[in-house]
Amino acid sequence: MSRVSTAELSKYLLTGSITRRGCLHARFSTATTSRGFATDARLQPTTPTTPTAPAVPFRKQLKDQNKALKTSGNKKKKNVDNQTVPGWELTVGIEIHAQLNTRHKLFSPAATSFQDSPNRHVALFDLAVPGSQPLFQSETLIPAVRAALALGCDIRAVSRFDRKHYFHWDQPSGYQITQYYHPFARDGRVSLYPRDGIAPADGDRVDIEIERVQLEQDTAKTTAMAGSVHWLDFNRVGVPLIEIITKPQIHHPATAAALVRKVQMLLAAVDACVSGMEAGGLRADVNVSVRRAGDAVSPGSPLGTRTEIKNLSSFKAVEDAIIAERDRQIAILEAGGIVEGETRGWSLGSTETRRLRGKEGEVDYRYMPDPDLGPLVIADDLVTRLADSMGVLPDQEIDDLISSYGLSTKDAMSLLTLDDGARVQYFYNVLNALEERLDLANDASPTSDQRHAQLAANWCLHELGKLTELSSDLGMTPDGECRVPSVDLAAILAHLHRREITAKVAKELLWGVFRCEIPSGGVTQAIESNGLWFHELSEDEYADLADRVIQGEDKVLSEFLRFKQGKTKAYPQGKLMFLVGKMMRAGVEQRMDPSSAEKIMRARLESVYLPALEAS
């Protein structure tokens, strides 16, 4: 379970609905605090009496947010361009924490787990038992290096571990082991395109540099109970994270959100990440500063004082928090004030960031190289091997889907993001089976005709999507199979493509397969036994029908005449479809294809009726 689909996310973010599968459901039903990561000791209040944002279920927050917007009468603000403020330049840098997809913790052989009973997977070192020592689990390097490669980073041959000191009950040793002085990866780059959702002002493409990627430990999970009681689950302590730090090169809020989304997508694509942002597997801190646009002209002029907003847990929160913080800073500066370097927080649904602490409250982390841990040496052969076996990255795959199969950008992105990336695999399975049936497998020039591919994509996305509109689940597996076996969908599509069945029959067959009414491999048999083959009317029979329904429709006919005479600009398509509809009802529907009916109706109008009408 490594990816949350964008479709799911939008449903979730915009309407607050959550599909009831997997970890999403389980996560949000528990009243846990939000500290996913050890970024800071003091973010989390000690007493549960202080409302902390994520202690409230996420869905409820979204509801409250909507309510707040309604009462303030600002609901229709969507069209306002909130990406730029004239006269000001915004600069944003982002730090993203992601849980790595590994079986063991970073420095102990204890298993990583997310659903198990609390405190089941804890080694001596995880609890900082005196005399225990860290044992680096080298398998952690597989997802970590893959993630860094997906982000275009340079993998350092030698990196080191440092201790970052602060006291918090969720940090048993009193320090977090991280890579402060020598991170294992540096100098990466993420390219963002309009399809990733960047601000229009960023044009066709914007490259954001990744300054560093470092390995570090997660903290224990705190659950606030009634009274001033906290429960600690040490299953999570020591789970490996990577922290990804961008350079301050982002200048628009939407682009910041797009970057986080893109990083999540890249991490999921290389199977480096456990879960997406909303499942708590990814978390972002943003550094925000503004300066007058005039200052930005001269290179090397300093950025404005920055503030940091911690623990943002959704893409929308990233964008909204940046907008709010930018506007706050601009308001201060315009009033002649000074922006203070401080740490701020953000609650979903609010309209402004809140101060957590100022500079004077900064912790001195007293970074120290960990004396128990030697340098981490990553050999070239490992990097080469992981780079070679990494597969195609999402951008490349989207480009391939568009150019090879003629899909739209939107459809390509949907295929890639649905079902944690399994949907596109399903699409390939269907396409292969379909091409085999259509005997296109050996066709040397697939580009000549991509209609079958578009058909397959259309059904894999939209028709398949309709199946699950009523609560049930496709049961998509990572290797791209689901309750509608790819071979059966391919069988349906092959018949449809050859016009051996109608689209309506095809949809019914799909439901039949989905509901297990048609056994796998039994599509053709089902068509046969139910007499669903499409024996289309002959052209003459269509023409007869057309003639029959046109009778008494003189008023409609006159519309066509007016178009022909140039009196109206638009072809009366609606009227045509009205006539086709009449035709479909008049005839035997199972034997008719609306497109054939339309074609012949149009031909009859042009060749017979309009000339007759003109003549009269």
Partner: protein, 563 residues
Amino acid sequence: MSARARPRGLHLRHVCPPNGHQRRHLNHFISRADASLTSAEATPVSNDPSSTFTLAVKDNIATASFPTTCASPFLIDYRSPYEATIVSQLRARGARLVGTTNMDEFGMGSHSTHSVFGPVAQDPEGDAPIPADTSSLLSAGGSSGGSAVAVAKGEADVALGTDTGGSVRLPAAYCAVVGFKPSYGMISRFGVVPYANSLDTVGFLAREVSRIRDLIVGGGTRPGLWAEHDPQDPTSLSSAARTRCAGGREGYKFDTAWGKKRPADLLRGLRVGIPLEYNIEELDPAIRDSWARVAALLQSSFGVRAVPVSLPTTRHALAAYYVIAPAEASSNLAKYDGIRYGARATSNTTAAAAAEDGSAAAPASDAAEGGVLYAASRAAGFGAEVKRRILLGGYTLSAAAMDNYFLQAQRVRRLVRRDFDRVFALANPLHDGDADPESEPPSFDLSDLDERVPMADKRGPEEEVDFLLCPTAPTPPPTLREVLAKEKNPVEAYMNDVFTVPASLAGLPAVSVPVSVQPGGAGEAGRPGAAGLQLIGQYWDDARLLGVAEALVEVLRDEGMGR
């Protein structure tokens, strides 16, 4: 840390009462096995009765049999859920645990006085009874003072200590026993409560070098500890590295010709370096005299060449040590918060009460930051010396001081190691990368060298040496009263480590053997104090070091200069 400051509600099950007034013994054990019981824990794993020996374990090394208190109020009732690798290794070699020994809290101290169980004292001279007030007795040295006394009194054949900056060698010198600090990375630290990980080593104390040599080098069918890698300790050298390091060394094969040499033959032809920088002003004249007499004896009667050598960074080593060790300590001791184990101070302290009052108004994060639980627990759970070193370390690691202290100290540490590498004939197998033998030999800055060092050519001194010979401690053991009187000036106490710290910084093996101090010399009040002479070897030259130490002890005994 006075006994009163101990968290309430804890019941001692230890042999030494924390109340000094009731003490009428040397206070060297914290927990002790009941001799009348033959419990499973006291039974050695080995079936060969001839190979069994009694073992005392410093109380910062985890045992399955006893609490592991580190002599700290924090861990006064703490029982480790597992046993240290070294204890298991020794059990497998026939060790029978007799108890855990008293020490300076977490190993921080030079006299074993900073203990929640009270100070350790040495046996009075002759057959004098132990007085109720032990302050007139001699310091056992620290921090492994309990282990040294247990060995000196014959209550254990071998005692384990930990040596971070001299904590095994110094008490060995004070108590006139043998104390050995192995090469860093040879003995597993898994289960050893860390003080400063990059310096900590498990050390061995015994009355005879041979006991220790048997364990380290092995003999007959028993494998030596030197060969055993522990996968639980990331700083334990891998088996491959052990073999590689031992490849260029003599003495690891116990039954070879080298191992069977007579002491005099072992010494013949050795080149022993006399580090001139160790002849400091604070060095007790009687000890200086012993040092000189032994060097002269070796040179005149045993064909040893005593070579003056220079270790120019010595004078900075102690300062570097007292930056690095507290820095690591402050980090290591951050885990003691009373949350998961150890003593937790309850909220009826004033600090907690004040914080509770304020919590309604103050942001909740302040409560976490103020660390009600932490502050109270850590205030009550640590002794004064530990707190002092935590503060020192916290400061030297702070962003403002890091560059001037911690990083400088690390540079000094490199120079200390380079000093040793330059004087030893053997190469340091861990650093062959940065000193390519084909390239320019390491050059000396002549202005750094002591002027008495003879020069071979303009490049540097004439001779490389096999071992260094120097005193273990600059003075004979003071009385506990003297120690307590000087407590106001901790820097003076830190001075005791001046000769032991350099080998710790460089990770080198070193052994302290007892030597007599000429009565009537300028020793303190003419007291016939014990002293230790220290032999320092190149990295992983432990086997030969122990062989030569054994020979040295023997010839000193023959010459009437031993103890």
